[in-house]
Amino acid sequence: MKIFVVIPLFNEEKHIVKVLKDVSFYKLPVVVVDDGSIDDSKKMILDCRLKNTTLLEHKINLGKGAAMKTGADYAFSHGADAIIFMDSDGQHQASDLPKFIDALESGKYDIVSGSRNYSYGVPLVRFLGNKFASVVMSAMFHIYISDVLCGFKGLTKNAYEKLRWDSSGYGVETEIVARAGKTKLNICEVPVGTVYHNKVKGVTILDAFGILGDVVRWKFTI
């Protein structure tokens, strides 16, 4: 099975090189989608000269969901059977990749979702927010995922074709779970570690309210 790693990137000059070097250990093709970064992220990637790494560039910042979709479209049009999404801020650890690879290669699962453990350093507010999201999604879409908002996910080509999302921003992970609940794809969770380098970036409380509104909309539109 040909598995690509897709990494959406926005202004992560401090972490992207380490992320790519860690991932390169597993010799998987990597697609980095620079979503309109205005720092030196692009230069740092090009300076690394890593093999198997393709850099795609959005001319302007569209959001994480759009970058993930561009990366996925590229990977599947270049022979991928499955993809694994990873964040570019070093929050996800490349050492967890084999868990995703094993689950995808087993052929039993269409979606492999990472699950961050509270004891691994997830801040309490985010942990509680995640649990609330899990309960809401379970009630509305009849699918229980313990960490809905985790961006560390694996998808087969079949799953991507069925799940292709509309969200261009941070709502993408929630939309994937909502669509998975509707399509009845086989899904499993694998425990992943997490390191929070940046407390400013990521989903804010306002984003969360926006996503909650989207969840209600998806209930009737998906």
């Binding site: 989608v33 393709t54 795609l56 560039e57 959005h58 001319k59 302007i60 569209l62 759009a66 979709k69 561009t70 479209d73 590229y74 049009s77 261009s168």
Partner: protein, 110 residues
């Protein structure tokens, strides 16, 4: 006699006429658009100066004061304009996203 609130409303209406003309001169509004906006603001100015013109109209809708009628009308106008703007922005965002993503993938194929 014109009261304070009418003066404020008149100043607002005249400043909007000024901005409409300014945007027309900059080429940001078409001929039809500037005429529509000027007609709308002229009607607003007439109603502000002579509110009694709407008295019988207000009574038809069981609204006691013309001021209340104008407030209700204003709310309806603002809500409808916000929803139209929301839909247009969503469409624009979608088009922009499609364009940027298509360009990125096209460039990657080369």
């Amino acid at each position: 006699m014109i009261i304070g609130i009418q003066v404020i409303a008149l100043l607002f209406a005249f400043s909007m006429v000024y901005f409409s003309v300014l945007h027309f001169k900059r080429g940001e509004l078409s001929g039809i658009e500037i005429v529509s906006w000027l007609v709308m603001w002229t009607m607003a100015i007439i109603v502000i100066v002579f509110p009694e013109l709407l008295q019988s109209f207000a009574k038809t809708f069981l609204v006691t004061r013309v001021f209340d009628l104008m407030t209700i009308g204003g709310f309806i106008l603002v809500i409808s304009m916000v929803s139209v703007t929301y839909v247009r922005i969503r469409k624009l965002e979608k088009k922009l996203e499609d364009l940027v993503r298509r360009e990125t993938l096209k460039k990657a194929k080369k």
